[in-house]
């Protein structure tokens, strides 16, 4: 029989136990910053093309 309950790993924790450590996500942060840099560099590149053609 399928489980219709929200598929949590465990029950909702008691408030005192909720002061857990945040997971380590520095690799994620670095990766999205690279993504942001890609967006910035490509945008500025086309912006410069636009400005020189104006």
């Amino acid at each position: 029989m399928s489980d219709f309950r929200p598929q949590l790993g465990q029950q909702t924790p008691i408030p005192q136990e909720q002061k857990k450590q945040e997971p380590v996500l520095k690799g994620t942060f670095a990766a999205v910053l690279l993504l942001g840099a890609f967006i910035a560099i490509s945008w500025i590149g086309v912006f410069l093309i636009f400005m020189t053609r104006n």
Binding site: R5, G9, T28, A31, I39, W43
Partner: protein
């Protein structure tokens, strides 16, 4: 206990998947020929036109392959997560929708190949196609509405029988996707049924061109999110299960989808930035709204990397990026969608540039735009869909993916990426040099600028031929999957991580979210539409092919 997929539902799903890949094959033949024509490698025989092929390619790839795969995929997840089987009414609606769309598709393709609708998949007035073309499109849209109603019906019954419980994430996301579609297609339905069909039959002499384009692009932008959101469903819900990890955050995933519902519709003007008849103010306003729809994708990027990192660190990774190596690279069910994710980085960056108001002048109607959407829909979305097929077809037909098929899948993914690198890479570059899209072979009387574009066209043709090999291989793989050894394949649905917060109930208060979505649409479009209705002069129709 592994839950087996319902056999009757499986037939509905497979019907959609196979139709989608048949469309991909025919559309792929057209696409390869187009590339070879522009690259100066072939001349078409007298009875096939470049623009007929282009119309067929756009319709089959961007409307048929996508819509059928999406509806099949969504029905599969709704069946699996909302009770293990579709309710009879939902399955019936699924089949009626499928048949209606298919009648429309067949009529449409015939009319296109007969040369009576060489208007491309955007069918801009006042080019006037055969009324049967517009009727065909209307049937496809109406069929898709019926399919959507089946999903809404199943969801609503589940909610009534499970009151107070959080809905399964796959089903929630499917409902958002079909709501988005429902609202978006109203625009193109009005354009086709109210404006174009009467005009193409000759009951009305003229058409309001600016209004027709506005109604189309009111639909045309959310259309791309209709394509993207099912790929995001795979990334959010399925991929964590495939890699052996957990969903990073249930609430943020739902919130991102609701943000797409709000901000992907009131933004059509960013496809009309270079047009007359719309003021600079409203163009800029819709550009601002467009930039807001980038935010849920930024959230999704974070969630994806976070899912991978948490999984890798749970397995012992310690360095900044060491967790990356712990992903199942040799598993096509992960590898193909992952390549889709990776390529979404340049794809999305290009989209931000396209929407940048006056900056759009650098790229409008050039091959840059074609390069852009071959990254977004034809790679990020397509590779994700291909990756889904490797578990979906076995799961719903009672078969298993073999190691050999998995290897062929990896090879197909790599071929696709190589071909797309050459083709889309050249398109982006030559587009910046001013090369127009949607244009057959020409050197503009050997103008030096145009002659400079030719080497890029050759690279595009080679890329296109490599991609066609990729098309043949995925079609082969799909057929092989249909004949794979029998066995049990689990439908992969991820579990939510312990670190995720409980999901707030307001994320499922549909009235609120739909209300905001409608308010934003009215805000972004009312005044410009009134201006168009009052101040535009209608145009007669033309058949210029």
């Amino acid at each position: 206990m592994k839950q087996l997929f319902d056999r009757n539902d499986g037939k509905l799903v497979i019907a959609h998947i196979l139709f989608a890949f048949a469309a991909l094959l025919i559309g792929g033949i057209a696409g390869m020929l187009q590339g070879m024509v522009r690259g100066g490698m072939v001349t078409l025989p007298a009875n096939i036109g470049y623009y007929e092929l282009l119309t067929a390619h756009g319709v089959l790839m961007a409307l048929i392959f996508t819509t059928y795969f999406i509806i099949g995929f969504l029905y599969s997840g709704v069946s699996h997560t909302l009770g293990g089987r579709l309710l009879p009414a939902a399955r019936k609606l699924g089949w009626i929708g499928y048949l209606t769309m298919s009648v429309g598709t067949v009529i449409g393709v015939i009319v296109i190949l007969l040369g009576k609708a060489t208007v491309l998949y955007t069918f801009y007035a006042p080019m006037k196609a055969s009324p049967w073309f517009y009727i065909a499109l209307a049937l496809v849209v109406i069929g898709s509405w019926l399919s959507g109603f089946g999903i809404f019906y199943q969801y609503r019954k589940w909610r009534k029988n499970n009151s107070g419980k959080l809905s399964p994430l796959f089903a929630f996301m499917s409902v958002v996707t079909m709501l988005l579609w429902q609202i978006a297609t109203i625009g193109v339905a009005i354009e086709v049924v109210v404006q174009l069909i009467p005009w193409s039959f000759g009951w009305v002499d003229t058409v309001n061109v600016v209004l027709s384009r506005t109604l189309f692009w009111y639909f045309g932008h959310p259309l791309v999110y209709f394509w993207l959101l099912p790929a995001y469903i795979c990334w959010y819900v399925v991929i964590p299960k495939i890699i052996g990890g957990k969903i990073f955050s249930d609430s943020l995933a739902r919130l991102s989808f609701l943000l797409f519902l709000l901000f992907s519709i009131p933004v059509g003007f960013h496809h009309q930035l270079m047009e007359p008849g719309i003021s600079s103010f409203w163009k800029y306003l819709q550009v601002v709204l467009t930039f807001m729809v980038i935010v849920p994708s930024l959230m999704t990027a974070f969630s994806m990397f976070a899912t991978f990192e948490m999984h890798g660190r749970a397995k012992g990774a310690r360095s900044l990026f060491g967790w990356f190596r712990m992903l199942p690279w040799k598993d096509v069910r992960f590898f193909a969608p992952f390549m889709g994710m990776l390529i979404f980085i340049p794809a999305g960056a290009g989209g931000i540039i396209n929407a940048s108001n006056q900056m759009n002048a650098v790229v409008h109607n050039t091959l840059w735009v074609t390069g852009h959407f071959h990254l977004t829909v034809a790679t990020s979305v397509a590779l994700t869909f291909f990756g889904i097929a490797y578990w979906l077809i076995p799961a719903v037909t009672g078969r298993v993916l073999t190691p050999k098929m998995n290897r062929l899948g990896i090879i197909q993914t790599i071929i696709w990426c190589v071909g797309m690198f050459f083709m889309s890479g050249s398109m982006h570059t030559v587009g910046l040099l001013g090369d127009p899209r949607r244009t057959a072979y020409t050197t503009y009387d050997d103008h030096p600028d145009a002659v400079l574009w030719m080497p890029y066209h050759v690279a595009m043709a080679i890329g296109g031929m490599i991609l066609f090999v990729g098309v043949l291989l995925i079609v082969y793989n799909v057929i092989a999957l249909m004949r794979a050894p029998k066995g049990e394949t689990e439908y992969p649905i991820g579990e939510v991580s312990e670190a995720s917060e409980p999901t707030p109930r307001y994320l499922e208060r549909w009235g609120i979210w739909l209300g905001i979505a409608v308010a934003l649409i009215l805000f972004a479009y009312t005044i410009p539409l009134i201006d168009m209705l009052n101040n535009t002069v209608n145009s007669p129709g033309y058949v210029t092919w």
